[in-house]
């Protein structure tokens, strides 16, 4: 293990160190005179991303994007996908589409409508509460309400039908002195 690790480290040290040495002699980081001054030594180890623009932090756009699903198959909304899955190329494209619509003066509802027209209902994170989808929203609540009402009704009826409580001391009155003593002895042995 150790030998493998040190071998690997030395290889990479050679690579990185080699570059640094190279850079130092050339006087320009990265060695390539055309490259930007702050170029990473191993740029391919990091995903490249377009720079953040004003619209990216717009609260309205974020809200809209939380309601729309990314179509790459990740099951996430556009906002979450583009800020989490940096390998996805779909969500940045969808994001640009949202930004474009927003900049053209579309309201959030209009943006969502435009997406539904283009991609179908599947684009929504939560189905619109209409038609069969209503079942999705209402069935659990209705089931619980129905069961609860039924339960309460049964309880009420039982309570009403229950006989007047028997005199409370009937049980205790039957306890003989011997039993009473026995019970008290047992109780006194219970750790308090």
């Amino acid at each position: 293990m150790i030998s493998r690790r040190s071998f690997f480290t030395s290889i990479s040290a050679l690579l990185v160190g080699g570059r640094a040495l190279h850079a130092a002699t050339q006087g320009s980081p990265g060695g390539d005179p055309e490259a930007p001054a702050d170029r990473l030594s191993i740029p391919e180890a990091v995903q490249s991303r377009p720079a953040v623009v004003e619209g990216d932090n717009n609260g309205i756009i974020q809200t809209v994007e939380h309601k729309l699903k990314c179509t790459c198959g990740c099951n996430l909304d556009i906002f979450t996908c583009r800020t989490t899955d940096f390998t996805c190329t779909v969500s940045p494209a969808l994001h640009r589409q949202v930004v474009a619509l927003h900049e053209n003066g579309a309201t959030p509802d209009q943006i969502i409508d435009a997406f539904v027209t283009e991609y179908g209902e599947e684009i929504l994170m939560a189905p619109p509460p209409e038609g069969f989808n209503l079942a999705g929203y209402l069935v659990p609540g209705l089931a619980i309400t129905a069961a609860g009402t039924l339960l309460a009704a049964i309880l009420m009826r039982r309570q009403a039908a229950a006989p007047v409580p028997a005199p409370v001391l009937t049980g205790a009155a039957n306890v003989s002195a011997e039993d009473q003593a026995r019970l008290e002895r047992a109780l006194s042995e219970v750790v308090d």
Partner: protein, 680 residues
């Protein structure tokens, strides 16, 4: 050692079959040696599966890449701890892990169950044996972890970077422990029904094991949230993902059971319902595995998918039909011993609590399956994401929260009005004060104010319960305050441990409310540039990009982007987020670069920084910065919950143990008093 491993699997299959066949046949009832043999088969299965596990571990540790499983999930340069935990990184290993842990639990259940339940044990052995047989058969016929490749690759594929996280070392086993241990209460339930011994005894054995599963599952779910939070990088911990839902479902029904079992113990009611809950919980845990494994429903957590899922579906149907048919045939013997007497009683409160728990479970299940349903009905696979689940479940959650506060305040059987007034006045006041203070401080989000007000109310309940209990002890026994508090908890572990669990849940809810105030912002920064983000608490973070440093570690090239943090102008340290490009031992890239989140956690809020990528391969960096209020409290609430659970299940109360021998003489040690002479 694949030969030994596979052989051990076959042996486990045979031993499990023997136990299941003999145990279910009932022949042991008249032949004690068969009962003994059935129980021994559990230990034998456990031994065989431990041997198989050791064989797989040996393959992993020695990097035997000729084994398909080893080649698929590890590589030579994978850190040692992940090589060991790659055991459950993939499907085949998970199955072996599951079967092994189940057999260990089954053996423990046999060894640790009180002799009072002796006549249940062979049937318990039969049920656990049958479940083990299912898992082993799935492995042997569909997903054998000991399969060999036709050639030996020079190096393995390596482990998915998202699984290379300490959370992943401990989270899946905990979750599995929770899922798996549900089998034991299920087995006890089946055994009680089969033996027709339906008095109150079996419920004790079931409750203890259910509490254990519940604790494992709670820890597993919390660790899963932690893993998602620190590893997935979207700044949240719960996304109503199908796999997350699948772990929540059995937790909900088990929690319902742990409440309603109290009514059964105290009043002899709800026996059928409780057995139904246990069977349902077991089925939901198998359903969870089916969801995770089948890929029927897309999920971010599904790391292993195959047709094995359908084995689970078949098993699920089989177990359900068997369990519920058995329940139906024993229906008359499970007659309740008492009737509910009042709507304003704790029994009724527990009934409504069960209704809400099962209702939430149903609504989560409904939402999880809704895409399949719409596809069947309308031909469109509709997504139901977090907005849907929140809309449906948040009201139910708040209702449950209210019941958490109401339940403990109501007495058994019947509460009078004066009684109710005396109990409710302090908690309700505390809830109202909490809500109005928050409103006064400018919080205008209705549901958040309502939720925090309810949290205040429930906290009031818990405080009042502890306070009054301590005061009662001081009055009754004249103890000092700390002694009274300690003894109060120690003498009533289930009650006050339960209240601590409530407190833990309360803290979770507070953290959930906090998360609804989460703020996310993106920024592109060159070294030296800064961005500012305003916390929901009002202060401003100034984040200055210090630069990106790149270095190599054991199996990866790390690019660490660092931000200097200032809060309202005061220096507050640095936060680093990393991109990790994993490489194999030939220095070739494996997987896409993964992200390590940088988190600066305080009691008030987390600063959550993600290095999203570089601008054209330069040190200019894209950051996604999230300010996440109250997240720390989630992990703290988890700790409180575990503490409460441990207190509840801590063994050896023994308060009623016979001490003086006055009330009971020990039958077993009595010598025959009369001796007759032997005829000569």
């Amino acid at each position: 050692m694949t030969l030994l491993g596979e052989f051990a699997l076959w042996m486990a299959l045979l031993a499990g079959l023997w136990g299941a066949v003999v145990g279910f046949s009932g022949a042991w009832r008249t032949r004690p040696e068969l009962a003994s043999s059935t129980i021994r088969s559990v230990y034998a299965t456990c031994a065989a599966l431990l041997v198989a596990s050791i064989a797989l571990w040996q393959g992993l540790i020695t990097h035997d890449f000729n084994i398909e499983y080893v080649a698929s999930y590890t590589s030579r340069n994978l850190p040692d701890s992940y090589v060991v935990t790659a055991f459950w990184a993939g499907q085949k290993g998970s199955l072996l892990f599951w079967a092994t842990v189940l057999s260990v639990f089954a053996a423990l259940a046999q060894a640790l169950t009180s002799r009072r339940h002796k006549e249940l044990m062979p049937t318990v052995a039969a049920v656990t044996g049958a479940v083990v047989v299912f898992f082993v058969a799935t492995m042997l016929f569909a997903a054998n972890p000991f399969d060999r490749l036709g050639f030996t690759p020079a190096d393995g594929n390596g482990l998915n970077p998202q699984l290379q996280n300490p959370g992943m070392v401990i989270h899946p086993p905990m979750l599995y422990l929770g899922y798996i241990s549900i089998t034991i209460p299920f087995a006890f339930g089946i055994a009680a029904l089969l033996s027709r011994r339906l008095d109150s005894g079996w419920i004790v054995a079931i409750r203890k094991w259910t509490l254990l599963s519940w604790l494992f599952l709670s820890v597993g779910i919390t660790l899963g949230m932690w893993w998602a939070y620190v590893e997935l990088g979207w700044g949240g911990y719960w996304a109503w993902d199908p796999v997350e839902n699948a772990s929540l479902l059995p937790w909900l029904t088990m929690t319902a059971f742990l409440h309603s079992v109290m009514i059964q113990e105290k009043r002899g009611m709800l026996k059928r319902w409780n057995l139904g809950l246990i069977f349902g919980t077991f089925m939901l845990s198998i359903f969870g595995t089916f969801i995770t494994r089948s890929g029927v429903i897309a999920s971010v957590h599904s790391f292993a998918q195959s047709n094995v899922g359908y084995f689970f579906l078949a098993f699920l149907v089989l177990a359900g039909v068997f369990g519920f048919t058995l329940l139906y045939t024993r229906w008359p013997q499970l007659e309740p011993e008492a009737q509910l007497e009042s709507v304003a009683s704790r029994e009724a409160a527990f009934l409504f609590n069960n209704l809400i728990f099962v209702g939430i479970a149903f609504s989560v299940l409904w939402g999880t399956l809704f895409p399949i349903l719409t596809e069947a009905v309308r031909g469109v696979k509709i997504t139901v994401g977090p907005p849907f689940f929140n809309r449906v479940n948040v009201p139910l959650g708040l209702l449950l929260l209210a019941l958490t506060g109401i339940g403990p305040l109501i007495a058994w059987r019947k509460s009078s009005l004066a009684n109710l007034r005396r109990q409710f006045i302090f908690p309700v006041l505390l809830g109202l004060v909490t809500a109005s203070v928050l409103f006064g401080m400018g919080m205008r989000e209705g549901s958040a104010v309502l939720a925090l007000g309810l949290i205040g109310f429930v906290a009031g309940t818990i405080l009042q319960e502890f306070y009054r209990g301590v005061r009662a002890r001081i009055r009754m026994h004249g103890e000092s305050f700390p002694v009274a508090l300690g003894l109060l908890i120690n003498r009533n572990r289930r009650r006050y441990g339960g209240y601590l669990v409530h407190a833990g849940i309360l803290i979770y809810f507070a953290a959930f409310v906090g998360s609804s105030f989460k703020i996310t912002q993106e920024a592109t920064l060159a070294p030296g540039e800064f961005t500012e983000i305003r916390s929901p608490f009002g202060h401003v973070y100034r984040l200055t990009h210090l630069g990106v440093s790149q270095y190599t570690a054991l199996n990866r090239i790390v690019s660490a982007a660092t931000l200097q943090v200032e809060i309202d102008g005061k220096a507050a340290g640095i936060v680093s987020s990393e991109k990790r490009q994993h490489v194999d031992s030939f220095n070739r890239k494996t997987f896409e670069p993964s992200t390590e989140v940088g988190i600066r956690s305080t009691l008030r809020e987390d600063l959550y920084v993600v290095y999203a990528g570089s601008i054209g391969g330069t040190e200019r960096a894209n950051y996604a910065v999230t300010v996440n209020p109250l997240v720390w409290w989630l992990w703290f609430g988890g700790g409180v919950l575990v503490l409460g659970g441990l207190i509840t299940m801590w063994p050896g109360g023994g308060r009623t143990a016979v001490r003086s021998g006055l009330t009971r003489t020990q039958g077993a040690t009595v010598e025959p008093a009369v001796e007759e002479a032997v005829p000569v």
